[in-house]
């Protein structure tokens, strides 16, 4: 292997690794706060990228109808819960908020010429469509099972994954899509030529990680999330609602997923089911850190990206096999190092 090929592969590996790292962060976050192994994480990648692609092609994205349906389901679930508890005041406010939000989105999607807008307006619009799906998924699938075992939550995750992939097929269709590149420029860095888009992916990923770090270290909601992950009883005792930390962590996971999709959509053709494999690779990175350590998860995910790039050069037919076979030594190593993962407070 010549040095040029190695540098090229390294570049590929870092770009993919950056995306896997973002997904790994989301997986660690969701698991540590809610004990949910969030298999559907990858679906938000596909939803984010495909929603932006639909906006750029001037089609109203199917995500809008999905969001409407999901919000109706959430309202029903909340309504039933409120009837049982005999209250309704906060529910009316939530409903009014939902209705206002969806009306606003509908107005934009039906009246505005969004296809000709610049990317920096289209991207927030795509996020506004996709991110609210995260907390809704938590509310519908996981919140009713708050006390369940990790295994039950995992089984639910498989079901949610299948449901979201099917809905993706229904609302986005089977064709793949790509979005416009943020920039087509190519930069000479020493002897390698780097695509500006690839550089964007890495820079945005680093920026997003820095933003997440600041959120966890500086804001009261970020600290509340960390506290919920560290000690559930303690978090309840200081008045952090279990539902709030759940919704917040799922919203962040959806945001991270959708942004990842938007970042890679210009360089990869996304299909409704593309996210799954990416999510799994993020998961491999995350379990290197025991689903508990953010920095190790990032490092692990980068490693996965680099190994994948090398594997695609040496044995491209076995690329996925090699990456997922990584799980075995990782699990053996972790089982030797830790005695229990489950109640690691």
């Amino acid at each position: 292997m010549s040095i040029d090929i190695a540098l090229l592969l390294g570049q590929d590996g870092v770009v993919n690794g950056a995306i896997y790292a973002l997904l790994a962060l989301a997986l660690v976050l969701v698991f540590s706060v809610t004990r949910v192994i969030f298999i559907p994480q990858g679906e938000f990648v596909a939803y984010g990228g495909l929603t932006l692609a639909a906006l750029q092609e001037g089609r109203g994205p199917g995500t809008f109808w999905l969001l409407c349906a999901v919000r109706v389901a959430v309202a029903l679930a909340d309504g039933i819960a409120a009837l049982r508890a005999g209250s309704g005041r906060s529910l009316r406010w939530a409903l009014a908020g939902d209705l206002g939000y969806l009306t606003l989105l509908a107005a934009v999607l039906y009246l505005a010429p969004f296809a000709s807008w610049p990317a920096w307006v289209q991207i927030p619009l795509a996020l506004a469509l996709v991110v609210p799906l995260g907390p809704a998924v938590y509310r519908l699938a996981y919140q009713p099972l708050a006390g369940a075992s990790i295994l039950v939550l995992l089984i639910v995750s498989v079901a949610v994954h299948v449901a979201l992939v099917s809905l993706g097929l229904l609302f986005f269709g089977a064709e793949g899509s790509q979005t416009r590149a943020f920039s087509d420029a190519r930069l000479e860095l020493g002897r390698v030529e780097v695509g500006a888009q690839a550089l964007c992916v890495v820079l945005f990923s680093v920026a997003l990680m820095a933003a997440l770090h600041a959120f966890f270290e500086r804001t009261s909601y970020g600290k509340a999330l960390r506290a919920s992950a560290m000690n559930r009883v303690g978090a309840r005792l200081v008045g952090i609602p279990v539902g709030l930390s759940g919704r917040l962590s799922f919203a962040l996971a959806a945001l991270i997923g959708a942004l990842s999709g938007i970042l890679i959509a210009p360089i990869t053709t996304l299909y409704y089911d593309t996210g799954f494999l990416m999510g799994l690779k993020g998961f491999v990175g995350a379990i290197i850190g025991g689903l508990a350590s953010y920095p190790v998860a990032v490092g692990g995910a980068l490693l996965v990206g680099l190994i994948e790039a090398l594997a695609s050069f040496w044995a491209s037919a076995y690329k996925e096999v090699i990456v997922f076979a990584l799980v075995v030594p990782v699990l053996v190593w972790r089982s030797l190092r830790t005695h229990h993962l489950e109640d690691d407070e």
Binding site: G86, S87, G88, K223, A227, N231, R236, L237, G239
Partner: protein, 260 residues
């Protein structure tokens, strides 16, 4: 928060802040509490003493909302709170300091305290800073260690932090579960003096203690809880002079216990 729970079922009384009426709690088939009646007056300290396994921790957990009540009612200032969520109770001014402290071990002392004010997150920064300053005034030792991780604190400092964190939500009623557990006599005295100081500022306290001697010395009212039932109730003085209490809980073997 449920509208139902907000309805006043009894009129708020000038003297009673917490009223527990006929409370029953079960762990599956096991009945841990049966028909428990307890009252905590405004600005008063009520102590609950009793042997291991009597159900003292269960009582506080059920009042705080950590455990569901199988029977009975709980009123805080005339508002029915049985079955309410913990976070709603915290917002109403009821804070529990559990036997197990439940600190955020890998966060600093200051972060732990600030999280204690999470229910006041909509209040201004200045208000929360004032509460933090107040907590540091009560426990100067915490200020010295504000950047230390809670998990590295000594037992006494942990108890101070747990108490300080609970105070950050500006409670009207504090539920304290065995604050003296595992602490040296000097620290026990310090903590109990803080509790007495809180009463002076109008905070009511429901205090669960193994250390009956110390608890009865600072309490106004007292209850003896045995196998899930209140077997004796009265003023702290009356309980302290009850022959049964003297024999079982203040007996000779315990004379060496720290007083206040």
């Amino acid at each position: 928060m449920s509208e139902h729970a907000e309805q006043r079922t009894t009129s708020p009384s000038a003297e009673i802040l917490l009223e527990v009426h006929g409370l029953g709690v079960r762990y599956g088939k096991v009945e841990a509490l049966r028909d428990v009646h307890i009252r905590v007056g405004r600005g008063r300290i009520a102590a609950v003493i009793g042997p291991n396994g009597a159900g003292k921790t269960t009582l506080l957990s059920a009042i705080a909302g950590l455990l569901p009540c199988a029977a009975g009612q709980v009123w805080l200032d005339g508002v029915q709170i049985a079955g309410a969520a913990v976070e709603d109770n915290v917002a109403r001014g009821l804070s529990l300091v559990p036997e197990t402290r439940e600190l955020f071990a890998r966060m600093t002392v200051q972060d732990n305290l600030e999280l204690g004010a999470f229910s006041l997150r909509r209040a201004g920064r200045r208000e929360r800073d004032a509460l933090l300053a107040e907590a540091f005034r009560i426990f100067p030792r915490l200020e010295e260690r504000r950047d230390q991780l809670a998990g590295t604190l000594s037992g006494g400092e942990r108890q101070m932090l747990a108490l300080g964190r609970a105070l950050m939500s500006r409670p009207r009623l504090l539920l304290l579960d065995e604050p003296s557990l595992g602490l040296a006599p000097l620290i026990v005295r310090e903590i109990f003096q803080v509790v007495v100081g809180l009463r002076r500022r109008g905070v009511s306290v429901l205090l669960v203690e193994q250390n009956a001697r110390a608890a009865l010395q600072i309490a106004d009212d007292a209850y003896l809880l045995e196998t899930g039932e209140v077997s004796l109730a009265g003023t702290a003085q009356a309980l302290a002079s009850d022959p049964r209490v003297i024999e079982s809980y203040l007996g000779l073997g315990r004379r060496g216990d720290p007083g206040v």
